[in-house]
């Protein structure tokens, strides 16, 4: 693996995680390099969301190793992980209904000084500007997703964990999310994406990790994707 001279920003080794007594991850290994967009692909229940939540420190029972920018995260609570510059956008979006759009945007505290400014965030998602005084609960699904992504861009986090950002959205909104992800990549963010929609994933990602039964079973570089499509289809059962 001569091409891997470059140091990974995130490297996960032997990650295991449990919900109560039930073992969900059985030793997950993968890495994401600085400035890269990587995806976790796999069927429902493969452990993709649990992997993101474990990196974020939101799964209490976990072991193995998660190194971010040289720091071991495996024993850190989620508030400490966030302070190191990792941000999470959950699948259910997690918009706070008792807060208005502006309060939602301002909620995550700045962890570094070099995040996007509020103006830059609103330039990416002009809809949010118009809705800034609406309650979070009054937004459409697409607006909620933009808000969920927008609010973690201000904080200065370098690694964004996005859990199914295109789920349930109209194609025109998916296009907007795609442009946003590409823009963020060019702005230097490192992104780890969980996706069911690998057609979307193929247009934004540098590499894809395929998960099955709580493990990463394969890695496909995006340029090999066409060639390896049959094997990916078999993995995903599509």
């Amino acid at each position: 693996m001569t091409e891997q001279r470059q140091e990974a920003l995130l490297s996960v080794e032997g990650l295991r995680a449990w919900y109560g007594e039930s073992n969900v991850l059985h030793g997950v290994d993968f890495e994401v390099r600085e400035g890269e967009v990587a995806t976790l692909l796999g069927r429902n229940g493969a452990g993709k969301t649990t992997t993101l939540k474990s990196i974020m420190g939101m799964i209490a029972k976990r072991d193995g190793s998660i190194r971010f920018d040289g720091v071991e995260l495996i024993r850190l609570p989620s508030n400490k992980v966030a302070r190191l510059g990792v941000a999470f956008c959950p699948e259910e979006r997690g918009i706070f209904s008792s807060l208005n759009v502006e309060e939602n945007l301002l909620l995550p505290p700045k962890v570094r000084s070099d995040g996007l400014t509020m103006t830059q965030v609103l330039a990416l998602f002009p809809n949010l500007q118009e809705r800034s005084l609406s309650q979070g609960s009054k937004l459409s699904g697409g607006e909620q997703q933009m808000l969920a992504i927008g609010r973690i861009l201000r904080t200065g986090a370098r690694l964004l964990l996005l859990d199914e950002p295109t789920e349930g959205l109209a194609p025109v909104i998916v296009d907007q999310i795609r442009r946003t992800v590409l823009h963020l990549k060019s702005a230097g963010f490192t992104i780890l994406l969980v996706e069911q929609n690998f057609r979307f994933a193929a247009t934004v990602a540098d590499r894809h990790y395929v998960m099955e039964n709580g493990r990463v079973i394969d890695m496909i570089l995006n340029e090999e994707l066409q060639m390896r499509m049959p094997v990916l289809h078999r993995y995903l059962g599509v």
Binding site: M56, G57, M58, P77, S78, N79, V81, A82, R83, A87, F88, P90, G94, F96, S97, S98, L99, E103, L106, L107, P108, P109, V111, I152, T155
Partner: protein, 295 residues
């Protein structure tokens, strides 16, 4: 003498004043309960005992340290707030993974222990606490006599209630609190120390109870059971107002104090039961309470 519906204005306004005073206490106490319930998901049965501790704190500060009312109004909530924070950290925090009923049982137990300890030392007779000299006396308003201390209780409580509302609904810190009430795991994943926030919220809620206890000391007797007498009514107030809303807790508190006062004038036999009758009616019509949101 002027009368309204056969009741002298003096008696009417006198009872309305008492109603507002009681309403102030209901508002301060149900506000703390609503805050704690929102974030910790426990019904704090120790609230009455902590209110009583606030009153005793004022009494001790005066008799043992010579610190008067205004000092006590600051120190007692701080001390009781610290005591509450310690209880949350050492005991209540162990129960968050369990059914809500355990939090209720634990805080009920804490209330019994605290009350019992005070009763061993002070029996059940009350001690009087003097009205501060700066608020002694009263003013004749023409239609009624208004004792200055009682006027202060209403204004002071209202100010603290509205200040708390502002803190929660209009500030950055309050937005953390509202967000953590909805989804503590996600707020924590944004880098906010939610466990610390929970401890501080419990401390703040019981600090409000202690503040209320100091306010009440010159009006009621300072006694070990003063909390358990009041808290039953406060729980009825909380049920009527609903758990969801800060402003709802404040409004319901003052409103029910007034209703109680009016009942004393026009149908005194029902004065002690009117709140419970209202509670039964509200439960039938709007089970989540007047300001609560259905879950």
């Amino acid at each position: 003498m002027i009368t309204i519906l056969g009741v002298s204005t003096q008696a009417l306004f006198g009872q309305l004043l008492i109603g507002l005073i009681n309403g102030s206490f209901y508002a301060l106490l149900s506000l703390g309960l609503a805050l704690i319930f929102g974030l910790l998901n426990i019904i704090n049965f120790a609230h009455g005992a902590l209110y009583m501790m606030g009153a005793f704190c004022a009494y001790f500060l005066l008799t043992k340290a010579g610190i008067g009312y205004w000092g006590a109004l600051v120190i007692a909530p701080l001390l009781v707030g610290i005591f509450g924070s310690a209880i949350e950290r050492l005991m209540i925090s162990r129960l968050y993974q369990l059914d809500h009923i355990y939090g209720l049982l634990l805080t009920f137990g804490i209330a019994l222990v605290v009350e019992g300890l005070f009763r061993i030392e002070y029996g059940s007779t009350g001690m009087s606490y003097p009205v501060p000299a700066s608020l002694a006396g009263g003013d004749n308003l023409g239609f009624m006599f208004l004792p200055r201390y009682r006027a202060w209780v209403i204004v002071g409580s209202l100010a603290v209630c509205l200040g708390t509302w502002f803190l929660i609904e209009k500030t950055r810190l309050g937005s953390y609190l509202r967000a953590a009430t909805e989804n503590p795991d996600l707020v924590r994943a944004f880098g906010i120390n939610v466990p610390l926030m929970i401890t501080m919220t419990y401390g703040f809620g019981v600090g409000l109870a202690a503040f209320c206890g100091v306010m009440a000391a010159p009006i009621y007797q300072v006694s070990p059971q003063m909390g358990s007498e009041l808290i039953i009514v406060v729980f009825a107030v909380v049920v009527i107002g609903g758990m969801g809303s800060i402003m709802g807790a404040i409004l319901t508190g003052f409103l029910l104090g007034l209703v109680e006062g009016l009942t004393k004038v026009f149908y005194p036999e029902a004065a002690n039961t009117v709140i419970f009758i209202l509670m039964a009616i509200v439960l039938m019509i709007r089970p989540a309470g007047l300001f609560g949101t259905q879950k």
